[in-house]
């Protein structure tokens, strides 16, 4: 039977919601599931992790050195802990993507990135080409399988369990070459683009950064995050961290509203997992209408404020 080590993520002292989705991936692999939590004091997160359905044990690895999630500091401890486990799973977040390859390289194994489906303990589907080609990969079982989990592909497990919580310590030598300086949390009142359930995006048709106000306004009415096409970013209307697409953020919201976005391939690659896509564009031939669940051929400068008013 597989023995699966899930590396939990902690945000603001609490268990990051992605961890419950990684546990869901572990449950699909089938096996005994342990969640490991690193930090200075992880008791609150450990209590939440112990409730996750399917988890048999939660390990707390607490030390001053673990106060901030530094890949170079966590990796040697995870490598030490991984002995005896068949799988080490990380969330497909910035934290997981930063840390997992460092662990895989130390274990001498190729990593499986962004698991979408586990067909068996060694066979997985993962996206390539921004999700335009799904590959099925077979990973050698020994010495261990190291993987990140694509969170958008899994539904969080419930929290009605009551797993044992244990403390563990590490004797791994930790490097001093990496020092945490600070974390500036995003000041935006709006939801994070990648985590948001609703996203409103604007394209080149907006014509200026000033005109983007109507997009922000609609987004605020809907409690949505704001995104943009590469064309809008390249035109300087918005900063490029708002770019949705293959070379920007790949998102999977419940509702995606594209206003004045024609639907270039590179943009569509970033939204294909959205549950419902709404497109507003004055060009009836725009490719965005090929993928939209609801399309409205209209001038966005009248349709967007009207939509805001009627919600």
């Amino acid at each position: 039977m597989s023995k699966i080590l899930v590396i939990g993520e902690i945000s603001d002292g609490k268990l990051n919601s992605g961890t419950a989705k990684v546990v869901a991936a572990a449950a699909q692999i089938k096996g005994d599931i342990t969640v490991a939590l690193f930090g200075a004091d992880v008791s609150a997160a450990a209590a939440d992790a112990a409730k996750l359905d399917g988890v048999s044990k939660v390990l707390k690895i607490e030390s001053a050195a673990n106060a901030n999630p530094l890949a170079a500091v966590y990796a040697p401890q995870i490598v030490e802990l991984a002995a005896g486990y068949s799988h080490v799973l990380f969330p497909g977040t910035a934290f997981g993507k930063d840390t997992a390859p460092r662990v895989a390289a130390k274990l001498g194994v190729q990593q499986v990135s962004d698991i979408m489906v586990a067909h068996s303990p060694t066979s997985f589907d993962r996206p390539t080409y921004a999700g335009n080609a799904i590959v099925t990969v077979e990973a050698p079982a020994a010495p261990a399988i190291v993987a990140t989990v694509r969170l958008a592909s899994f539904t969080a497990v419930g929290s009605s369990a009551n797993a044992a919580i244990e403390s563990a310590s590490s004797s791994a030598a930790l490097p001093s070459h990496t020092r945490f300086v600070k974390l500036e949390a995003q000041k935006s009142e709006r939801p994070d683009l990648q985590a948001a359930a609703r996203v409103v995006s604007g394209g080149r048709a907006l014509g200026s950064s000033d005109a983007f106000k109507i997009i922000y306004s609609l987004a605020d009415k809907m409690g949505a995050a704001v995104g943009a096409s590469r064309a809008a970013v390249d035109s300087g209307y918005v900063p490029n961290d708002m770019q949705v697409g293959q070379t920007g953020k790949i998102i999977a919201p419940e509702l995606y509203v594209a206003a004045g976005i024609s639907g270039a391939i590179q943009h569509l690659a970033g939204i294909k997992d959205a549950r419902t896509i709404v497109a507003i564009n004055k060009d009836a031939e725009a490719p965005i209408f090929e993928v939209a669940d609801f399309g409205l051929v209209a001038d966005l400068f009248t349709a967007v404020p009207e939509l805001e008013g009627k919600l």
Binding site: L70, A72, A94, F95, K97, D98, A100, P101, R102, A104, A105, G108, V109, Q110, Q111, V112, S113, S123, P127, T128, Y129, N132, A133, I134, T136, V137, P175, H177, T178, R179, F180, V181, K182, L183, E184, A185, Q186, D192, P239, N240, D241, Q246, T247, E254, L255, A264, Q266, T276, I277, V278, F289, V291, A292, F294, G295, L296, V297, L307, K310, L311
Partner: protein, 248 residues
């Protein structure tokens, strides 16, 4: 101070990638290729640091067949001083690539290894971190700001919670995210100049690298297609459609 910058030749981001009907991969023949966009950002950052006097030499490096020389020529046109071409025709997975880059980094005595955070073909997002792990050196991934100062780098990283700043000792691996810079448009005189710059060819054997165990790709399939939806005529119709689906 020397920087090594890895650049990968990938299917251009504007190409609509087609999966082969027999499921053996995607069609790459006769398709436009270009430098991985994240690697362009890495090249641009190295060149800017050299222009500021923080770096003295930039060496571009790639792994692949003969056609990868084009990618190295682009890197040289960006401003790399010379290039290393690791000749390898087959599929090279991230840990193998990382072993080769780590060996080259050591041989060159470079202080910074720049790479894009991921390549837009396999989307692995692993190689930079693995280079750092193999050499037991620092890593600063997903960089949106890089300052080099003496034996240290201060790097701002794009993480889910916002912007994280790390201070790392050199040598270090830095992988680049979108916000770091906007790569320059390559000008004809630079492209001409790049033709005269040296490219050294090496093999995995020269670097003492073995390919090792790999993931086996058993099948490549197209993602489920989205079906074309409904065209609504008015905003009112749209609102009632969204309400009926419980979306607003």
């Amino acid at each position: 101070m020397k920087a090594l910058v890895s650049v990968k030749r990938v299917v251009d981001y504007n190409v609509r990638v087609q999966v082969k009907s027999d499921g053996s991969g995607v069609i790459t023949e006769g398709v436009k290729h270009s430098m991985n966009p994240f690697d362009e950002i890495a090249m641009e950052e190295a060149v800017r640091l050299k222009e500021k006097g923080k770096l003295t030499e930039i060496v571009a490096i790639t792994i692949g067949g003969a056609k990868n020389e084009e990618t190295l020529r682009s890197a040289l046109a960006f401003g790399a001083d010379r290039a290393i071409h690791i000749k390898e025709e087959g599929d090279v997975q991230p840990l193998t690539a990382a072993r080769a880059f780590a060996a080259a980094l050591k041989k060159e005595g470079a202080q910074v290894f720049f790479a894009g955070k991921q390549a837009i073909d396999d989307d692995a997002n692993q190689t930079g971190q693995m280079v750092a792990a193999l050499l037991d050196i620092a890593q600063a991934t997903f960089a949106s700001k890089v300052e080099l100062d003496g034996g240290k780098a201060v790097v701002t990283r794009e993480v889910d919670a916002g912007l994280e700043t790390l201070e790392v000792d050199l040598p270090a691996v830095i992988t680049t995210d979108l916000r770091l810079n906007e790569p320059r448009y390559l000008k004809l005189p630079d492209i001409m100049k790049a033709k005269k710059k040296p490219i050294e060819t090496v093999t995995f054997a020269d670097l003492g690298v073995e390919k090792g165990a790999a993931l086996t790709i058993s099948k490549t399939s197209a993602p489920p297609k989205r079906s074309k939806g409904i065209m609504v005529k008015t905003v009112d119709e749209l609102v009632s459609a969204l309400k009926s689906k419980g979306l607003v």
